[in-house]
Amino acid sequence: MKPARFDYARPASLDDAIGLLGTEDVFAKALAGGQSLGPMLNLRLVQPELLVDISRLPELAEVGEENEGLTLGAGITHAAIEDRRVPDVTAGMLPRVAGQIAFRAVRNRGTLGGSLAHGDPAADWVTCLAALGAEVVIRGRAGRRQVAVADLMRGAFETGLEADELLTAIRVPRLAGGARWGYYKVCRKIGELAEAVAAVVHDPERGVYRAVVGATHGSPIVIAEARDAGAAAEVMAAAAQGFDDYETQVHEVALRRAFQALEQG
């Protein structure tokens, strides 16, 4: 379990990183916290020629709070959010979800950007941030674009990111007063990725009542007009693909319990 040979670069700026990632004929990969990429390198599931270490880029550590919401650099770790070392505009949802990801050692290094770019359907941030209506900021040679988290994933471990593109920030809308959320994760043991996971955000003032079901066989299922658990479950059942009986049941229970959690505040 030793990785194949690779070169390693630690560029000083975001532009340099994008430049390196876009080098012709070189298979390059960004390295953030290494919590997903590390095991894949060791198992030789991916064999890049060049690792571009973005974990210390100052641009990815930036935090900005505005009226509409919060911008978090893609390099911010799960632990930083869990410990509330960054501001929160989600009535506690982000810190709460962060604390349920893996073990502390993984949270110390794993990042928001790495989690979203990795595209694991069971990743907590995918479900949570899609429910919040967050967007990602993407930078590449062609410039800057912005995509809703819910639309980033194209399938299991597939995103619409180009080879030279990096997630630089995540923009999370501010919940209005009176907004509520619910989150529920089914996992067989603490620190495991979810077997089923669901998030619900109800923000009457902003007219948002959105539910998201994750840990599917592909992209998360987004239920834009959630209304209530029963209706949401019907939408989920219609949208779900490839679920067996058990999977249907646990995803439904995750969804119902997320609604319950929302009710109980």
Binding site: M1, K2, P3, A4, R5, P39, L43, R44, K185, V186, C187, R188, K189, I190, G191, E192, L193, E195, D245, Y246, Q249, V250, V253
Partner: protein, 832 residues
């Protein structure tokens, strides 16, 4: 969703007073135990917890050492058509590529317990028989390069049909794993004790069930490590490996390497990062690295990685048991019939098929059942070879037996606890000869159950169940009563052979333990012995034992259990496995210390002008029993044996180094009627628990767990508690999480910890631990093996509780949410 921690209940001890007229048969010590029996903290922890352990991978190697990586088979069954190593060999830094052809030229196949042509070498020869089987070995300057070279090896395979499921593999038309054997069902033996047919004919009811005990293994943190070097001049190997025994495997390795045992020096480091039986299975790699070192002319180091470990290191055998009881309407069981089919994977590695026979004499468990029929069948399949896993045949037996007891209760509409109680071996029957030959040394099972269920513990469980059920929740109670064997009879495996074959092979019995205690000229004491500790705390206990004998403090005794077959005492029984430390090695150390004490007493009696019997050893002095002032310092008496041998009493050998051997006479060879006392000591474990199953997610929550142990005299209660907690955690893993899964082509699906779930502290509630002590009359220390009990009891106890909660007859292990969900759905479906 995941379990909370229960507050730590205190550990309680109950000592049974010896029953009148039933004094233990042999008491060999009258020394006041000052240290033995105390909950002394582990002296090992000072180094282990501060990262100062000396594990195999930490030890310095020669700078000439090369590093090995192994190419493994991607197919479950295939012919190896060709191996092209050219590209790999041309990579700078690559030194050699070893293939099956080299192995076939330089070694012999490993010896097999059965007379069947199931040839296994350390690399696949001609054919691969399981996914993960070693196919080629690359030696390079470092491990990275070696793995790069693996990618350049090109092997062409011709795929063959596979035999995976044990029952299907046993069919006549199944694809053959070993063509030369002509069948996959390589051994079938029938045994009968008492009159099972008569008892079944006379029974009010016959109650049967079939259980499947799945493949899994327990996970050491440290994987296999081998460093092998060949000394041209001596024609001998020097190998360092984290091997754990049994050393009956040493002759197997030496024979494979075609050398006498003395030319295979095997050293084991002082510390081990866990074993649970698994580190036996490093032995084929020892042979492989040995010949690689010879071919390369340089030392070879190999460190197994986690992927390799999960894929191919070790598995317990899968066992399919059909068990049937002849029962009276009142719940009395008059006979048992076992039909056991055990899957050993692609090869029968030594000492397989141990798990199928280790419990053979004790198949009736804690029950007084005089009539017994057993059919034991061995099947080979295209899966990883089976090996030692903590519990070693016990979990397989008790999952069937204790599930059956619960079924008997359900079918007869009795309380399961009443069925257990009705059939228990009565206290007055000890020493008790079980139907198949086990000689249970001591115990009072009914009393153990009385203590465990007492103090309101059972009432509380029932209250919790009733309250939960009143709210419509799924709550169940489970029990398991288990006899825990300690120290195996080296002759038990020959029960597998017919009487005639046994006679031809020569008798096998006993279990030798060896230990040496040394006192230097200044009175400093050191100990070496034939065990390979893996975290149990052996150093601590041995120091306690020797300290008591010599009147010293435990911290004055230096125990170093790094082992060297070239220099230290060992026998074929050596190693740390099957709970042999306490009834075996500890006794040998006790005896060696005792011999030294006798010798020192004679020396001191000269000086003090007293009879040796009138001396006591205490506070680093040897003194008159009735006059403490009449004394000589321990160190002074020791010095005499070194500095003034001429003054020693007549006939006394100089020096102070005693090696003691111990083998108990109770471990006799199998009889003509196949009766076998499979182990020396038999402890008792009674488990009781309440669980709740989430009706929607189908997750199991352990609400309360009580575990009662009688392990004879406890040498160190703290260490015994550690054994119980560890075995319990692994029992929970077996019950709820851990399983090696193969797909229909034989590919392995659980090769990372994301797929193979090992419970952690979050998933393992703290059990309430109780003890009582029925000393063993068969060992001088009165102590029994105590390392495996909960591996035997906990899976069965939790399965019984889940069966009770859901009203199902067939909870399969591991009881994953997915499985339980399917069982609940099937149960809820209206009958057709």
């Amino acid at each position: 969703m995941c379990f909370g921690l229960v507050a730590t209940p205190p550990v309680r001890y109950n000592r049974t007073t010896p029953r009148e007229g039933r004094e233990p048969a042999r008491i060999m010590t009258e020394i006041a135990a000052r240290h033995v029996g105390q909950p002394t903290e582990r002296t090992e922890d000072l180094r282990l917890l501060r990262g100062r352990g000396q594990y195999a991978d930490d030890l310095a190697v020669s700078p000439r050492t090369v590093h090995a990586a192994i190419l493994r088979s991607p197919h479950a069954h295939a012919e190896i058509v060709s191996i092209d190593a050219k590209a790999a060999l041309s990579l700078p830094g690559v030194i050699a590529v070893v293939t099956g052809e080299d192995v076939q030229a330089l070694t012999d196949p490993f010896l097999v317990a059965l007379r069947q042509p199931l040839h296994q070498w350390s690399l696949a020869v001609g054919r691969v028989r399981y996914v993960g089987e070693p196919v080629a070995l690359v030696l390079a300057d470092d491990r990275y390069l070696a793995e790069d070279a693996l990618d350049l090896l090109s092997v062409s395979y011709r795929e063959l049909p596979v035999a995976l499921d044990p029952a299907e593999a046993a069919q006549e038309d199944a694809p053959l794993v070993h063509e030369a054997a002509g069948t996959n069902l390589v051994s079938v033996r029938d045994f009968s004790y008492g009159d099972p047919d008569g008892a079944f004919a006379a029974a009010d009811r016959r109650i049967a069930l079939t259980t499947r005990f799945p493949r899994h293994s327990y996970m050491p943190i440290e994987n296999f490590v081998v460093v092998a070097e060949y000394h041209e001049g001596d024609g001998a190997w020097d190998v360092l490996a984290n091997f754990q025994g049994p050393y009956s495997t040493h002759p197997v390795m030496a024979r494979a390497l075609r050398v006498p045992g003395a030319r295979l020096r095997l050293r084991t480091p002082r510390d081990s990062g866990g074993s649970f039986g698994i580190k036996l299975a490093v032995f084929p790699y020892i042979v492989l690295m040995a010949i690689a070192a010879r071919m390369a002319g340089r030392p070879v180091k190999w460190v197994e990685d986690r992927y390799e470990h999960l894929l191919a290191a070790n598995s317990c055998p899968e066992r399919v048991t059909t068990i049937e009881a002849a029962v009276r309407d009142d719940g009395t069981i008059t006979a048992l019939r076992f039909d056991q089919l055990e899957d050993y994977g692609a090869y029968l590695r030594a000492p397989m098929p141990g798990p199928l026979y280790r419990m053979h004499g004790a198949m009736t468990g804690a029950y007084d059942i005089p009539n017994l029929a057993i059919t034991s069948k061995i099947v080979v399949t295209n899966r990883m070879p089976a090996g030692l896993v903590r519990g070693f045949g016990g979990p397989q037996l008790y999952f069937a037996l204790e599930r059956l007891i619960q079924r008997v209760a359900v079918e007869l509409d009795l309380d399961p606890l009443d069925v257990i109680r009705k059939n228990l071996i009565p206290a007055h029957a000890f020493p008790y000869r079980a139907a198949a030959g086990a000689l249970y040394d001591s115990g009072d099972y009914a009393k153990a159950i009385e203590i465990a269920t007492g103090d309101g513990r059972l009432d509380d469980l029932i209250r919790r169940r009733d309250a939960a059920r009143a709210e419509g929740r799924l709550y169940g109670i489970g029990f398991a009563a288990v006899v825990e064997p300690g120290m195996s009879n080296m002759g038990y495996l020959s029960t597998l052979l017919t009487t005639e074959a046994r006679e031809r092979a020569g008798p096998k019995n006993g279990a030798i333990s060896l230990a040496t205690v040394n006192v230097d000229p200044l009175g400093a004491v050191s100990v070496s012995a034939d065990c390979m500790p893996q975290g149990q705390g052996h150093e601590t206990v041995l120091a306690q034992i020797v300290a008591d004998q010599l009147g010293l403090a435990p911290d004055e005794i230096a125990v170093n259990l790094a082992h060297d077959t070239g220099k230290d005492p060992w026998s074929i029984a050596a190693g740390t496995y099957s709970c042999r430390f306490t009834p075996g090695t500890a006794v040998a150390v006790h005896k060696a210390a005792r011999q030294l004490r006798d010798k020192l007493a004679r020396i001191a009696s000269n000086t003090l002008n007293l009879r040796p019997d009138d001396l006591v050893f205490t506070g680093a002095r040897i003194q008159a029993r009735d006059n403490p002032d009449n004394a000589v310092a321990f160190a002074r008496a020791a010095g005499v044996a070194h500095w003034a041998p001429a003054t020693l009493p007549d006939g006394m050998a100089p020096g102070l180094r005693e090696t003691a051997a111990w083998t108990p006479p109770e471990l006799a060879a199998p009889t003509e009627g196949d009766h076998i006392n499979t182990s020396l000591t038999y402890g008792f474990v009674f488990d009781m628990c309440g669980v709740e199953v989430d009706p929607i997610t189908a997750q199991v929550r352990i609400d309360r767990y009580v575990t009662m142990h009688d392990s004879g005299k406890l040498l160190n209660p703290l260490l015994a508690e550690g054994q119980v907690l560890g075995a319990f955690a692994q029992g929970v893993g077996t019950a709820l999480h851990e399983e090696f899964v193969y797909d229909s082509e034989g590919s392995f699906l659980t090769a990372t910890f994301a797929d193979y779930l090992v419970p952690t502290v979050n998933e393992v509630p703290r059990p309430e631990i109780l003890h009582m002590e029925s000393p063993s009359p068969f060992t001088p220390l009165g102590a029994k093996g105590a390392g495996e009990g909960n591996c035997l009891a906990t899976p069965a106890c939790l399965a019984n509780a889940v069966a009770d909660a859901l009203g199902i007859a067939d909870p399969q292990l591991p009881m994953t949410p997915k499985r339980l969900h399917a069982l609940m759905a099937a149960r809820d479906e209206p009958a057709p």
